[in-house]
């Protein structure tokens, strides 16, 4: 199993570097443009369209929290959707999963290896992105007074990992239960969009408040407080709990799955005696 983890992780080294440095570039652009545009942004702070996408333009710290933390994490989640649905469902569609399943590994070992590898990949990716963004902030702070420490930005970015794990495990679960990758990716993307906008809309409309609890973004703090206080332990535990629950569901479904068939769950059950006799 260990060798499979190594293989799965190594096969994504380009993604680690590409997405890691891409997120640094993203942060560099957005952190560096803000000091010069601060006054203009302040006048836009009450516009609903910005609230809808979770942007706080009233302060440098609010802007950094809402732009860097939210959009870097959106990009990270996009990677998680792509990677998690291409891991089981995608490999089954490609036919490579058949080879791995025919190896002397149990289904739980295969799934665990893939889940661990994806988690490690995201960890590396975010470590690169967080260190890079912290360095850029440190450089910008030389000339502009920003009330966020590089370490605060580093920990805030790293606190997105439980959220990423949540999406990875949901992706693995969908890959294990739905017939193909396209469907798994579609369902997860819809959930992701609903989760993101649901959280922001619920923040604007009081009557929609209860739907927040179904959004993973509800458990990820993107206010400026995170730079000083860090992520709340309860949020981290909830996200890790969700990730664990979907991992267990993925294990159950993957164990039951007929690889290469691409069938719906109800097509995988045992036939009844009547069906058997009539067939």
């Amino acid at each position: 199993m260990y060798n499979l983890v190594i293989h799965e992780t190594r096969s994504r080294w380009r993604a680690i570097l590409g997405w890691g440095f891409g997120l640094i570039l993203f942060g560099a652009v957005y952190i560096s443009i803000f000091p010069g545009l601060f006054e203009q942004f302040k006048s836009l702070k009450d516009l609903a369209v910005y609230k809808l996408v979770g942007m706080q333009l009233g302060s440098v710290e609010g802007y950094m929290a809402s732009v860097i933390l939210v959009y870097a994490v959106i990009l990270l989640c996009i990677y998680c959707i792509i990677a998690s649905t291409s891991t089981l469902a995608g490999e089954e569609d490609n036919g490579t999963l058949e080879l791995i399943v025919a190896m002397p590994l149990s289904r739980w070992q295969i799934l665990t290896a893939k889940a661990v590898a994806l988690s490690v990949v995201v960890l590396f990716m975010m470590t690169i992105a967080s260190i890079g963004n912290a360095i850029i902030l440190a450089v910008i702070k030389i000339n502009h007074p920003i009330n966020v420490t590089p370490f605060g930005l580093f920990t805030a970015l790293m606190s997105s990992l439980p959220l990423a794990l949540g999406f990875i495990m949901i992706g693995l679960f969908l890959g294990a239960i739905l017939p193909n990758r396209r469907l798994s990716a579609t369902v997860l993307t819809i959930f992701f969009i609903a989760s993101f906008f649901g959280e922001n809309i619920a923040g604007m409309v009081k009557s929609l408040e209860p739907i927040r609890f179904f959004s993973l973004f509800n458990y990820y703090n993107t206010t400026e407080i995170i730079f000083s206080d860090g992520a709340q332990l309860s949020d981290i535990l909830i996200l890790l709990g969700i990730a664990a629950a979907f991992f267990i569901l993925a294990l159950i479904c993957f164990k039951r799955r007929n690889i290469t068939v691409g069938a719906w769950p109800w097509q995988r059950g045992k036939i009844t005696d009547e069906e058997y006799i009539s067939s």
Partner: protein
Amino acid sequence: MSSEIILQTNDLSVYYGAHRGIKDLNLSVQKGEVFGYLGPNGAGKTTTLRAILDIIHPTRGTANLFGLDSQKDGVAIRERISYLPGELSLYRSMKASDFFDLLGSLQKNKLDKSYLEQLIERVDLDPSRKMKEYSHGNKQKIGVVAAFMGKKELIILDEPTIGLDPLVQQTVLELVQEVKKDGRTIFLSSHNLKEVQTVCDRVGIIQNGELIKTEKVKTLITQQLKRLEIHFRKEPPHGAFPIEGVKEISRDGNLVLLEVSQNLDRLIEQAAPYGIVDIETKTVSLEEIFLAFYGPQNKGGQNV
């Protein structure tokens, strides 16, 4: 070949919802034999292999390998098996050499590197390239090497020579024979009946998900279908032998070529009045037997 049973299926059935994959399959493969598995497209050959390896879970019935249950003891079983899928898919951006390393690393037993190198050389493969750079034939070579490199007790091959040039096809057949000589077992699903006839000891014939025949290749060839060339003293009229299982292939005056799958005694009886000068038995290939099973006039081999 020993009488020890390596693979045994008991009423093995796989249904996809209401669709039939395989039904009540009962077959056994002995240690040290090369077992050929024949059937037209969609007959259920690949489904059988996947069910045996627990890639697909049986709807009903069991598959036992080395005395172990394929579902309960899958890992222990797969430690002793290697498998070449019929539709081989490889990691596009991985080098062939890395692929062999990966497969080797997932095995319990240490890989015999010198044997791996030998195999690579024998199939004439350059393992330093990425999968996406290989032709279909070269990808199949990779699959062949991967199947044989672990020196497993049972090697399951689904169409192993498809897309290979005749020289490499020959090498694969040699490898199969070497495995057999080694006392190990091969389960070979193939459409290439000549190669099945060359290397297999026994064959199982599957149609519409049901095993309709299991027989030794030699027996199948010598007993199942005969081609008789009868030299008559007096030319019999056309349609002189309206017997079930007897078909006239051609005639040249008093020389009539007949294909006989059953009722040989009745044929002799009805042929005697025309005066039999000579009877010659012609060799029938496995291909002809297979076509007799599945040919348009004889779907399912009722007359074979």
